[in-house]
Amino acid sequence: MQNWRKILFKEKAVKYTLAAAASMSILIVLLIFTFLGKEAFGFLYEPGLKELFHTRWMPVSSQRESFGLVPLICGSLLVTTMATIIMIPFGVGASVYIAELAKPRERETLKPFIEILACIPSVVIGFFGLLIIVPMVKKVFGLQSGYNALSGAILLALMAIPTVISISEDAIRSVPKDYKSASLALGASKMQTVWRVIVPAALPGIITAVMLGIGRVIGETMAVMMVTGNSALITGNPTESVRTMTATIAAEMGEVPFGSTHYKALFCVGIVLLIATFILNLIAFKILKKYRMIG
């Protein structure tokens, strides 16, 4: 009897420990939100929220310091959009090939390489970008300089593609075999089956994969800082230099005087970034949930 009680107690202890470990992440998210908010809060008084809508980001100036987030948001948006456009065909194409068309032998060679690409540190990818992508973009598009949004987008797509491939491959594989058999039995060719039956059936999963890829792109810092040139321009032109939110925080946080307006402004940038990734993940999560219900 005594032994039983001991075991029961142990079980409970283990259960609560695990529950505590699991809820840690909730606590951490809340803490991050609280502290970001706390540091940024002072900005509302001095110089006020209106300053964030200014069209100039010029934090170090003898004339007038401006902390407009518009160029930074514009920069992040441009790089992310471009990266998404590049990432979708490569990511989805590769996943369709690996899941449906590749022979087992090919799959076994391809998958490890994709996984290696996924785990290359972003600084290393940045080096690659600096030495290969930047001169290449300059040459191919006949530009004066390769330090622009396009170079950043190509690098970021490169980093996000492995994520997109593995998640959408899972989605394609989890499409029931019956769909494929039925389609083939009706006389559809292999390609018709893949593009008209399997991919549409796996679409929610593929969208989720792309969303998570975008999440990675928005949050990436090092590689993008090395190749985009970091001019705080408001532009929709991919061949111009842009300054992303992440690069701004990384470049300026180190030397900013503690508690200054500039310091608070950087925390405001952090909050905007956090909200953006939060929304993206929320959408991805919603789709994934719905998809599981259908699948």
């Binding site: 170090v60 004066q144 300089s145 970091n230 001019s231 030397e255």
Partner: protein, 289 residues
């Protein structure tokens, strides 16, 4: 990897404790400092730290410690009497001299090294010399094409350091005449990235420490700078920076309260000695002696 990280953190912690322990070890009896504190410019951090280390080797019993925080912080510290020596990469402002006088402190300046900033362009660019004003206009965006300053018809790509860099502010004060950088200026994360970008683009212009510019010889061209239209163009070199004829340079100086005496004087003498000035050269700055 993780354990190694932990160990280094622990070592760092232990070292900082040792530093604090050192602070309380002031020798009150002999009337002379066996513990010299230096505070100020981050630009000079590497230089002063190297001096302190070498000085400590031959002068056991005298501890020299350096804390950064910027030139302004260092000057404030010497005015408050919380440091023996202030390291500053700029000269004291009139306001600060007045504050010192009010507190009965006489700031004594000693230039210990010089730092020159070279303006670099691509070797294919025909422009060889410019006035400070012309360079300033390029950087503020007023001159977007090389043809205006005697070059070929080619748009300028402006390269700068990040705004967190001390060199960014120094260049802004001296060359841009305190105006803002052009919004289109590309802010590169490192000096090496500026050199790299200048080698790639015929229309690029950048500024880097003289040491870096000389190391990249052949890949970039150093612009000769005229202080104004009537003065001759000066190429930055150890000699021209030492003489003060090259305009985009600054002195790196120590400030003490009154004439230095005892161990502080000993340390300052060491900095200006040939051994000390050799370290200046090794850390990429220009000697004063």
């Amino acid at each position: 990897m993780k354990t190694r990280k932990m160990t280094s953190v622990l070592i760092a912690l232990a070292m900082s404790f040792a530093l604090f322990a050192g602070c309380s070890k002031k020798d009150a009896d002999s009337g002379d400092n066996t513990f010299i504190t230096i505070k100020g410019s981050d630009t000079m951090a590497h230089l002063v730290a190297s001096w302190a280390e070498e000085f400590g080797k031959s002068n056991t019993g005298i501890d020299v410690s350096f804390t950064g925080g910027g030139s302004g912080t260092g000057i404030a510290a010497i005015l408050n009497g919380t440091t023996d020596i202030c390291a500053a990469s700029r000269e004291v402002k009139d306001k600060e001299i007045k504050q010192a006088n009010d507190k009965g402190i006489t700031l004594t300046e000693l230039v210990v090294a010089r730092d020159g900033i070279a303006v670099i362009v691509n070797p294919a660019n025909p422009v060889n010399e410019m006035t400070i004003e012309q360079i300033g206009k390029i950087y503020t965006g007023a001159t977007p094409n090389w043809s205006t300053v005697g070059g070929v018809d080619m748009p300028v790509e402006i390269l700068s350091r990040e705004s967190s860099s001390g060199t960014y502010s120094f260049f802004q004060d001296v060359v841009l005449n305190k105006k803002d950088y052009a919004v289109s200026a590309k802010l590169m994360p490192a000096t090496s990235a500026i050199v790299q970008a200048v080698t790639e683009n015929k229309g690029a212009i950048g500024y880097v420490g003289l040491g870096y510019a000389l190391a990249a010889k052949g890949k970039v061209k150093i612009i000769a700078v005229k202080a104004d239209a009537s003065t001759p163009a000066v190429v930055p070199s150890d000699a021209s920076i030492k003489e003060g004829t090259y305009s985009v340079a600054r002195g790196l100086q120590f400030y003490t309260n009154g004439e230095p005496t005892g161990n502080i004087k000993k340390f300052l003498d060491y900095c200006l000695s040939s051994a000390g000035q050799k370290i200046v050269q090794e850390t990429g700055y220009v000697v004063v002696k």
